[in-house]
Amino acid sequence: MSNTIKSLLPPLHDGHRVPAVESRGAWQVLGDGDLLEVIARGLNTGEKLQGTIDDIVSVPDIWAQLTVFHNALTVERHPLHTRATAEWRGLLATFALAAYQSQPVTCELVSLSTLSNGRWAEIVRRLPPSTDLLDGRCIDEIGLVRAGVRLIAFAQPLTLLAPSRSLPDFQSEPPSVPWMLNGHFLDPLRSKSLSPQERAVLAHFLEFLCNDLGAEQAHGGDVPVLLGLARSYLDDAQKLGIAQVTQFEPEPVRLDLPRMPVFETLRRRFRGGMAGKAVSDCLVRMRSGLTTPLKGVVLVDLRIG
């Protein structure tokens, strides 16, 4: 009977692409760093578990909150990709639609290299993540994004925005924005509270973002991926229908963001001018041809009231 070889690796699912070990009794070179990703994708994680996992806590890096979010956002097959994309969209909308929200969005810039000496400062500046937007250099400037007094996100060149790990600790408090649930940002395009006018403002903001990211494409790596995500966001917003905004009125804003051109978009804050037209998902015009003094009806949900 032939003696086939079984790799000394964890359970892998059918169809994995991990190269076979060809002989026993010896070490065999299977690849380089990319092989680890092949093994990661080949692990038999079980469908049941895959659907229920709500966090990756196994990344041994103090910046894991950023690096896990970055992986989840930029790798489509990542088990948390859908959630990360929704959170990223939610965070971008928080900036785009800040003019429509009651809680002021602010940003305080921190430079790791100039933090005062101390244990925590030593820890955070020792092995910060590197990023393609800085051509592989480590990040130094980080924006602490707050809604009201609550820290909600980091503005940084790895993913532009990433949620704070402590957000779920405040889930008993009223959410900072309507597209937030249980301490997680949601995709605002799935939020019924977003009006066509707000979608138009969001789309306008995303056009700027696409332009700014497009200008940075030469960096390669993750930058085209982020651009793809932004374009897809813009497409989805437009597909849902946006109001015919006649004018985007800029609002003055002072945000202390990392000093890189790509963050300029986050400093753009608009209100959509409708030139006297009212636009709402709840407002239905009367069918033409009806003889009535009414111009339309407003749908009211008493349960909301």
């Binding site: 964890p10 009794g25 990319d34 990756i56 894991a64 030593e122 707050r146």
Partner: protein, 507 residues
């Protein structure tokens, strides 16, 4: 000063270090090595056990390899010189009892912006988690405290930097780290220490002189779910291992693409080996030895002893045959040399049994007087003085050697009984001949049989037969005596020679 450095990180790293030391007892491995353990949970049963094994090895080796007293000479037995870290075998990133991340970094006294950074990176629960029993599957926390403690002032780091200094003087240095990808301390420290070391290596321009290797244990065991009821908010959960391992591997992929390790050995087991007991850490976390840990020890030996060359940044793995039990020929030991591995271990196992059964009882206490006129005793011990075996020093050596050899046998029995799970037997030794049934997960609870039939002795290490006890006795009485041995070292060296397979043909 050695040029080989082995650092076992966390509980799994400690178990791999134990396997490395067990092999060193048998004469397998490099001639010298510095070995350290890093575990936040120093009370962890696996880590304290490894510390004990290291101490026992160091003690008996000193006793048997000190010029002027008992001397093993050129025997492979206990040949590896062991260097101890300046501050003891085990080191914890955060030494304070009942510390948490918050207390450790002085969270409440930080400026507001730095407090916000802590909040953004760690949840409230994580910030307040007590760390006296490890990092409880939160390696990001472990990474924070490892970074905090690995400074130019920390003792273990000083030892490792000394290694780099020797490299600066032309020595080819090998540093090997071993840990599991899941869990807390080991998972946290493995890439963190590696990244810090790599940064030092690059900064000093020593990439050609210092090679950094690692064995990363991917999921290879499972344990029962935590019991219901009170317990820490964050608890080990084996069901999530695979998913968490996937997340961590993606992170490692990026690091290794930047060629963090010169050579990275990845090891797992399919199916996962089910452990019987759940433990939240501390002294109760003591698991039986498992095959992947032995394989990780062989990876360390491959890296520091065989010194494989090749492109920096490679990832290597091994495999076993699928037919029948896992045997010696399945173990990765430089190809056909797995037979050499078997030969070294087999000779030491037989020696340990013969020592325990025949020679130690004959030399212990005042018993030596009863055999002082026998030919083997006169040949091997009389030249050191008539009462050579009766001195306090000799009796101390007998006690230490017995403890080390019994520990080796217990460990091998435990490994062979369930080291690859219930569905995959191991055939490294005939464990049923050595010990009674064993149902505990404690290696120390393995009860060794007091006596072994002569035929059983010959077939202790499959598949080949070794010498009989009569052959061994003949060798002790008439066989060659190495000239560089002395006292009880001479007895043990000749006994181990006698227990080698080649002695079958000689007698």
């Amino acid at each position: 000063v050695t040029s080989n450095f082995l650092l076992g990180l966390g509980g799994t790293g400690a178990k791999c270090v134990e396997a490395f030391v067990r092999l060193a007892t048998c004469g397998v491995g490099p001639d010298s090595s510095w070995i350290g353990l890093l575990d936040q949970d120093r009370s962890n049963g696996n880590t304290s056990r490894a510390s004990r094994v290291l101490s026992e090895y160091a003690e008996v080796r000193t006793a048997l390899r000190t010029p002027g007293s008992a001397q093993l000479g050129s025997s492979r037995l206990l040949s590896m010189a062991l260097e101890k870290p300046r501050e003891g075998w085990a080191w914890a990133p955060e030494e304070r009892v009942s510390a948490s991340l918050s207390t450790s970094v002085g969270y409440s006294g930080l400026p507001a912006a730095e407090q916000a950074l802590v909040e953004g990176l760690f949840s409230d629960e994580e910030r307040r988690m007590q760390l006296d029993e490890g990092f409880r599957q939160r390696p990001a926390l472990g990474a924070a405290l490892t970074l905090q403690s690995v400074t130019s002032a920390s003792p273990v780091w000083k030892d490792l930097l000394t290694a780099l200094q020797s490299a600066g003087h032309g020595v080819d240095v090998r540093v090997f780290l071993v840990a599991s990808i899941f869990g807390g301390t080991g998972a946290a420290a493995f890439p963190t220490v590696a990244r810090l070391l790599r940064a030092e290596i690059e900064q000093r321009g020593l990439g050609d002189q210092v090679k950094l290797g690692g064995a990363l244990l991917l999921p290879y065991f499972s344990f029962p779910p935590p019991p219901e009821g009170d317990g820490p908010a964050i608890r080990p959960n084996s069901a999530a291992f695979m998913m968490q391992a996937r997340g961590a591997l993606e992170y490692y992929s990026r690091l290794q693409s930047q060629k963090l390790f010169d050579r990275l050995y990845v090891i797992g087991n399919d199916p996962l080996i089910p452990l019987r007991h759940y433990s939240e850490g501390g002294a109760t976390q003591t698991n039986p030895p498992l095959l992947p840990e032995l394989v990780a020890a062989l990876a360390a030996i491959d890296f520091v002893q065989n010194r494989p060359e090749g492109d920096r940044g490679t990832v290597v793995a091994a495999g076993t045959g699928t037919n029948g039990p896992v045997g010696w020929e399945d173990l990765p030991f430089a190809g056909v040399r797995s037979l050499a591995l078997r030969a070294e271990v087999a000779a030491t196992v037989r020696m340990a049994v013969a020592w325990r059964q025949l020679y130690q009882p004959a030399l212990k206490g005042e018993q030596w007087r009863g055999c002082a006129r026998e030919a083997w005793y006169r040949r091997l011990l009389s030249q050191d003085g008539n009462g050579a075996a009766g001195t306090d020093a000799s009796q101390g050596v007998i006690r230490h050697a017995t403890a080390v050899f019994e520990g080796l046998l217990q460990w091998l029995v435990a490994l062979n009984r369930g080291g690859a799970g219930d569905t995959r037997p191991l055939a490294l030794i005939e464990d049923s001949r050595l010990a009674a049934a064993w149902t505990s997960s404690e290696v120390d609870a393995v009860r060794l049989n007091d006596s072994l039939r002569a035929t059983a002795f010959e077939s202790l290490v499959p598949p080949n037969h070794g010498p009989s006890l009569a052959n061994v006795f003949s060798h002790m009485t008439y066989g060659p005596i190495p000239s560089d041995c002395q006292g009880l070292g001479r007895v043990l060296a000749v006994l181990r020679d006698a227990c080698g397979s080649k002695q079958i043909e000689n007698f």
